[in-house]
């Protein structure tokens, strides 16, 4: 029982990370109906930047904040420079560009930082927090950080005029232009935010999986699964899906199929959801009257 509880809690911690990345995917999906295959590599690249900053002597949280800002700018620049020209291109062209981005970020990171695995610090103490023994302090801290990010995002989209404009631009670009919203920039902002959220996920997962250019491959897959389980156009569902996938992965990996088949959980979930219920289990059904 204790072991089970431990696995569930550890699952929640990684689940939070999947949730963040899934949310990043959903944000871009909602605005463009595209799934960003490079989302994981963007997060990985940002995490390396954080590593450099910490390595240069910056205190952890300063490096954290600076990384989030840099990731945001990177996201905006990528949208403006690389994605914009294929905005209205066929799906295949866009997918190819995403894959190109994945490959470029991966190889450039390998070029700059080598493929040697690096450790990445956790900002949380070694001793368990509050004397809770089922969870490491990093796991608890990661859950806390994830929840804080999710709350901030929710507040931003729900209560600020800019957040409202971004939601409007995502669902009805033409009407948005007619009220004066600069739709192109809203898309770029969306990419920036997604990249920023992804960078947090990267920094939270790096102490667990260590830092290497391929660290995000599997995690991206779990994030895909999370986004699909939750409904790829539903941010709340994606977050729930993230936690669910995290717990499933840990519990199944520990007790049922063994750790070496963990990725198969993601594969089965992705194909299963896509075939059985493409709108996800929380996918919105829009009510419209004409």
């Amino acid at each position: 029982m204790e072991a089970f509880l431990h696995q569930v809690l550890a699952g929640l911690a990684t689940g939070g990370i999947y949730a963040s990345l899934a949310l990043a995917l959903v944000m871009i999906y909602q605005a463009t109906h595209l799934v960003n295959f490079a989302q994981g590599e963007m997060a990985m690249f940002s995490t390396y930047i954080a590593w450099s900053l910490i390595d240069a002597g910056l205190p952890y949280w300063a490096a954290f904040a600076l990384t989030v800002v840099i990731a945001f700018v990177l996201g905006v620049v990528i949208e403006r420079v690389v994605i914009r020209p294929v905005e209205n291109a066929p799906v295949l062209a866009v997918v190819v560009v995403f894959i190109a981005l994945l490959v470029i970020l991966n190889s450039v990171t390998g070029w700059i930082y080598t493929y040697t695995i690096k450790t990445f610090p956790s900002p949380f103490p070694e001793q368990p927090l509050f004397g809770i023994k089922y969870m490491s302090s990093h796991e608890m801290g990661a859950i806390g950080v994830t929840l804080a990010v999710l709350l901030l995002l929710y507040a931003f989209f729900r209560f600020t005029p800019l957040g409202l404009a971004m939601r409007a631009a995502a669902q009805n670009p033409e009407s948005s232009r007619l009220v004066g919203i600069r739709v192109g920039w809203m898309l770029a902002l969306g990419w920036g935010l997604a990249a920023a959220v992804g960078s947090v996920a990267g920094m939270m997962v790096a102490p667990i999986v260590y830092l290497d250019p391929n660290m995000m491959g599997g995690i991206l897959l779990y994030a895909f699964a999370a986004a699909l389980v939750g409904g790829v156009d539903n941010p709340g569902g994606a977050v729930f899906g993230g936690f669910l996938v995290g717990v499933l992965e840990n519990v199944l990996g520990a007790f049922v199929i063994g750790n070496e088949l963990k990725l198969a959980v993601a594969l089965v979930l992705i194909i299963g959801v896509l075939v059985v219920r493409p709108s996800g289990f929380f996918g919105k059904v829009y009510v419209t009257r004409v």
Binding site: L164, S175, R177, L178, V179, G180, V183, K284, Y286, R289
Partner: protein
Amino acid sequence: MALLEVTQLHAAYGQTRVLHGISFAMEAGSITTLLGANGAGKTTTLRALCAMVKTQGDIRFAGERIDGRATEDIVRLGIAHVPDGRGTFVNLTTEENLRLGAYTRRDGEAVEADLERVYGYFPRLKERRAQQAGTLSGGEQQMLAVSRGLMLRPKLMLLDEPSFGLAPLVVRELFAILRAVNERERVSLLVVEQNAALALELADHAYLIETGRVVLSGTADEIKRNDAVRSSYLGY
């Protein structure tokens, strides 16, 4: 000086040319209507004014050329477009739809006041302020579209088929409010309508468009008395 002056406006969707050199003008404070049959180019004219279709020709707003500018910038000059099909943000609430109308404004307190003002015009929207806009009835969505336009505090409002698909009673109510908006707030209206009788009742000037050209213009009364218009568009 005319508020809006359009000279030799051409427009096309891809290869299909729709406007063949339309020219018209409207005075500040007036209500002008563009009449014409289905496919004459009325909607395209309105879309052309907001740079939502590729155009050639000269468009001046308050003496300034606006053709070639982006839609978002034209809106900032005070031109509100109430589009064909209403353009509702169906997944947002009624109130969020209205707040988007005031997106370009920076006078927060006045926006709150304007919100109450449009709720005054359309109390039904106030009842449904927290409701998903996609669930509103057709008439309510039209009211919402007009209100969203008003939230810009526009100088000029472009209305595309405001009566389309609405019950006669609702149309009467809506047009009364449009007249009030024009008189009280000095908002000029450019109305596109298939229902010519209705439009001529509201407007003081009218242009008749056929296959992408203006074929007749005058005051609403003159147009009403024109025999060709009477037999083709008014049906008496």
